[in-house]
């Protein structure tokens, strides 16, 4: 069976085209399922925050999560994706960013563009995750309208600048300072955590959280098991999140900075990080809520160098994070009177800083494709940029909302419960749970 050279060449061309298309489709399929898996993060936040609320506020807390998720999707379509493409060099608009404008030919069904939609989707879920980080901290006293404005600004604008600067192959934090943050500990978690801190300062504590002499009252949520399941769902969803942080090329995997990597590396270190954080948090608190928050701390602690760490080192880095962050949360509550209902400032804000700095200590010297090698100074300096980028807009915007009366619910509504005030349905219409909680001495209100 002899074939002519032209016939063989035609077959070769056909095979190459098939291979190329298979690679493209594999890439689409991979990010499709990463995006789907990330939805578990939002199911998790929903359960976790409703459980962490008193029964009288359960649905209002959940409503926040649903609204943030729903509004973030169009907001990221309208402006977020363009910001990511436009500002890797700082505040000047980069060439080619027009592809991210909502009226671009790339921002809809296009037979020559298999990438834009799937990456927009993954980044939209990253954005919704960032906004949801703030959500739990402010439960039981924030107005849903004010929260929605804050969530949109955080998720569709603020963190996107951070991602463009430091979680982008051409981001200036990498090209100038050598930042390495493959799992977005800084771009997502530090920014969201410090944005939340700025909001909490203006929002103030829940009624009854602090006594006149400055001592602290615990305000227990009404369903700890639901919170624990929610936290486990968030951890599960982070496998989608972190999978979405690695670039599939067909031949190999690359980090978002174009350095070679393997998905195996992410698997090793994500799991070891989860375990380290859980064990560390257990050691210092004995509290299952903090143990599951420790799982998140563990992921975040190892996230910047998931591609580089020896797994045993990732375990210890995350163990350290799991030990330190609950104590930092205690300091925020007891010394600074910051009523962070779920500890998100410590878990995400300081957890992100911890991860970035640890990568500066233990992964320094690795080469970047663009920019200097990873260094302690570069990581620390970048962490400071993320802290400021998160805190300043969070503080200023929440101050403006406070001044116009859109930040906090009325005292009467807070005491009665936000579900009764704002939500047309009841969480537990046939249950005695709300009544039981009304008499819970650990949930003090002025009415008591």
């Amino acid at each position: 069976m002899e074939q002519s050279v032209p016939e063989l060449m035609a077959r070769l061309d056909s095979l190459e085209a098939s291979l190329s298309m298979a690679t493209t489709i594999n890439s689409e399929v991979f990010y499709w399922w990463c995006t789907a898996l990330m939805l578990a993060i939002h199911a998790g936040f929903l359960a976790y925050e409703m459980g962490a609320s008193r029964a009288k506020n359960a649905l209002a807390s959940g409503m926040k999560n649903l609204i943030a998720f729903a509004f973030l999707i169009p907001a990221f379509y309208y402006i977020g994706w363009w910001i990511y493409l436009a500002f890797p060099t700082g505040f000047t608009i980069s060439d080619g960013s027009e592809a991210g404008l909502p009226w671009s030919a790339n921002m809809g069904p296009n037979l020559t563009d298999n990438a834009s939609g799937i990456f927009y989707a993954a980044f939209t879920l990253f954005a919704a995750t960032t906004a949801s980080i703030m959500s739990g901290s402010v439960i039981e006293r924030i107005r849903i309208s004010g929260f929605t404005i804050l969530a949109l600004f955080l998720g569709a604008v603020v963190w996107v600048f951070g991602a463009s600067w430091g979680w982008h192959p051409d981001g200036w934090l990498t090209t100038e300072w050598g930042l390495h943050d493959v799992g977005a500990a800084g771009a997502v978690h530090t920014i969201a955590g410090f944005f939340t801190l700025g909001v909490l300062i203006n929002l103030g504590p829940r009624i009854g959280r602090f006594n006149a002499d400055g001592t602290v009252n615990n305000i227990n949520g009404h369903n700890m098991p639901m919170s624990l399941i929610g936290l486990m769902l968030i951890v599960m969803g982070f496998f989608g999140f972190l999978g979405g942080c690695i670039i599939y090329t067909g031949d190999t995997w690359m980090t978002i900075y174009n350095t070679p990597a393997t998905l195996s590396a992410f698997a090793f270190n994500t799991l070891m990080g989860v375990a380290g954080g859980m064990i560390g948090a257990y050691l210092v608190t004995r509290d299952p809520f903090w143990m599951m928050s420790g799982a998140l701390i563990g992921v975040i602690s190892s996230a910047p160098a998931l591609d580089l760490y020896y797994p045993g080192l990732a375990f210890l880095v995350s163990f350290g994070g799991g030990c330190v962050m609950p104590k930092l949360n205690d300091i925020l509550v007891e010394k600074f009177k910051i009523d962070d209902a779920v500890g998100a400032v410590a878990v995400h804000g300081f957890g992100g800083v911890w991860g970035l700095v640890m990568a500066g200590i233990f992964a320094s010297g690795y080469q970047n494709v663009a920019g200097p090698e990873i260094s302690f100074v570069g990581q620390l300096s970048s962490a400071v940029v993320f802290m400021i980028l998160g805190f300043a807009p969070g503080y200023v915007l929440s101050l403006v909302l406070k001044l116009v009366g859109l930040l906090r619910v009325s005292e009467q509504a807070e005491v009665a419960g936000l579900d009764k005030a704002e939500v047309p349905v009841s969480a537990y219409p046939e249950s005695t749970v709300p009544a039981a909680f009304a008499n819970d001495p650990t949930s003090p209100t002025p009415a008591e």
Binding site: P74, Y78, D113, I144, V409, A421, E422
Partner: protein
Amino acid sequence: MNSAPITSWEGAEAYFTFADKPALLVALTLVGVGVCIWTIASMAIHENKAYKDM
């Protein structure tokens, strides 16, 4: 209403509805943004009323 920007699938690129009418896409974007802002405003009005009624 013929919303198709293509007359044949041969060589088609962006084929979504109104892909050949960028001004209309801008208008749809503005309407979408308006819907979001309007809903947030209605949210604030609902809250104000709810607190007043308590």
